[in-house]
């Protein structure tokens, strides 16, 4: 379980996050949604330590991550898997080397064991046999799936996904969403997905936190999101004509 308490973050004069507190439960897909500039990605980066919050704390299973030093954080970070918006695959490495990278850095496994783990992860994301491809030879959807394979290589307890559907066609987006949800249920990970894709919200949003102007504006599930009276959330959810028609 991940808890955040009163997270505040500013860049210069611009306040991005204004005292956000939330709990992210194990084994379900937690979604951070909101319009562009609402602070979703900044909050995610504060949670994983890529940004230091100005105040507030992040707890990983009651371990205060914010107060840890670099060495202590390494231990927590080996339990974190992250899928980046642009996949962030190492472009000088093949698919296999990308997935094997964290195993090389943090495990004492033999080459055979590491290869078996890579093959398992690739099979899990339906990319078996693509070990030797370079990242430049992959499509957008394949890159995301390799990113997921790398993120789960170390059997993470916490999985973070930053806009996993950005730049993907609707069909591939659904494949990625389902994959994230399956992995979450299968490995009981605490999964946090940053998105503004309404298909994802309706498809995998078991716990949804809506951010608006750097504040937590609403929290609920995908079953509740269409029936709320929250005006800002309604404007976000029903921004498209399709969603408006769906409601009618």
């Amino acid at each position: 379980m991940i808890k955040i308490k009163n997270i505040q973050k500013s860049f210069g004069d611009r306040t991005i996050l204004q005292g956000i507190s939330a709990d992210f439960k194990d084994g379900i897909t937690n979604l951070l949604i909101g319009g562009s500039g609402s602070g979703k990605t900044t909050l995610l980066k504060c949670m994983v330590g890529l940004h230091e919050p100005d105040s507030g704390s992040v707890f990983y299973d009651n371990r205060n991550f914010t107060s840890m030093n670099f060495e202590e954080r390494i231990e927590v970070r080996t339990e974190i898997g992250m899928l980046f918006q642009g996949s962030a695959l190492f472009d000088s490495m093949s698919v296999e080397e990308n997935i094997m990278f964290p195993l090389n850095m943090f495990t004492e496994q033999s080459d055979q064991e590491k290869l078996e783990r890579v093959n398992f992860c690739l099979e899990r994301v339906n990319l078996a046999g693509n070990n030797k491809l370079l990242t430049s030879e992959l499509s957008g959807g394949m890159k995301k799936r390799v990113g997921i394979a790398r993120a789960i290589a170390m059997n993470p307890k916490y999985l973070f996904c930053d806009e996993p559907n950005s730049g993907l066609d609707p069909k591939t987006s659904i494949v990625i969403d389902e994959l994230i949800q399956e992995i979450t249920e299968e490995y009981k990970t605490t999964t946090i997905v940053v998105t503004h894709d309404m298909n994802s919200v309706m498809g995998i949003g078991e716990n949804i936190i809506f951010l608006h102007q750097g504040k937590k504006w609403w929290e609920g599930s995908n079953k509740e999101i269409t029936s709320t009276n929250n005006q800002e959330l309604n404007e976000f959810v029903f921004a498209s004509k399709f969603m408006k028609k769906l409601l009618k």
């Binding site: 994983v48 890529l50 980046f84 962030a88 472009d91 943090f106």
Partner: protein
């Protein structure tokens, strides 16, 4: 880093020596100064100044821009964030090997450059008739102070450190997109060149 730069270093070194020979011969108008002096001047200027400094400036353009753009691209495509999320010390993982590589290879390149520069001087002097082969070799072997080579190596190590650390710093702190990667790369080359020239003066002042 080293092998890839060998070609350009070979070409510039031969021409540096050749030009030094021709221009020194042009300025030696007095019959009281023996032509063999040309060999000594080519040797000392190659060892002390031309090979380490000109090579470093060329390498700042080649290696510096490559390091800055490589690390800058990794920054803007979140590859450095990915390393940090995994718990890897990204500066140590990305920058340190480059600095170690440069301070190992650049002195070797400068040594090769010195040899080729002297060879270029010898060939230019012989072909143009500015100096006879015997006179050139006589000048080359007379009054050699091994300390000049030590100074040259010290300069190479310092220049190598400047080239890679400035480029890596510029790349690592790139913020934005492709445009900013290009700007970081340009900045890395400009700052490295200025710092190389400043360090060159400082080492000469302190050691000679």
């Amino acid at each position: 880093m080293g092998v890839g730069s060998l070609g350009i270093i070979c070409i510039i070194s031969i021409f540096l020596g050749a030009v030094t020979t021709v221009q020194t011969a042009f300025q030696l108008v007095s019959d009281l100064v023996p032509r063999s002096v040309i060999g000594g001047i080519v040797r000392d200027s190659s060892i002390l100044e031309l090979s380490p400094t000109i090579s470093a400036i060329v390498l700042a353009g080649k290696i510096g821009s490559s390091v800055a753009s490589q690390i800058g691209t990794m920054r803007v495509t979140e590859q450095i964030d990915a390393l940090e999320i995994m718990g890897i010390n990204s500066p140590g993982y990305l920058i340190l090997p480059k600095i170690v590589g440069a301070i190992t290879m650049i002195p070797l390149l400068v040594t090769i450059s010195i040899a080729l520069s002297i060879l270029g001087g010898y060939l230019a002097g012989t072909i143009s008739g500015a100096v006879t082969p015997q006179s050139f070799i006589e000048g080359l072997t007379t009054g050699f102070d091994p300390f000049t080579f030590t100074v040259s190596m010290i300069k190479s190590v310092i220049f190598a450190f400047i080239i890679t650390s400035v480029a890596a710093y510029q790349g690592f702190y790139t913020d934005g997109g492709a445009l900013e990667v290009g700007q970081s790369s340009t900045k890395a080359v400009v700052i490295s060149c200025i710092m190389i020239l400043f360090a060159d003066y400082l080492v000469a002042q302190l050691l000679l």
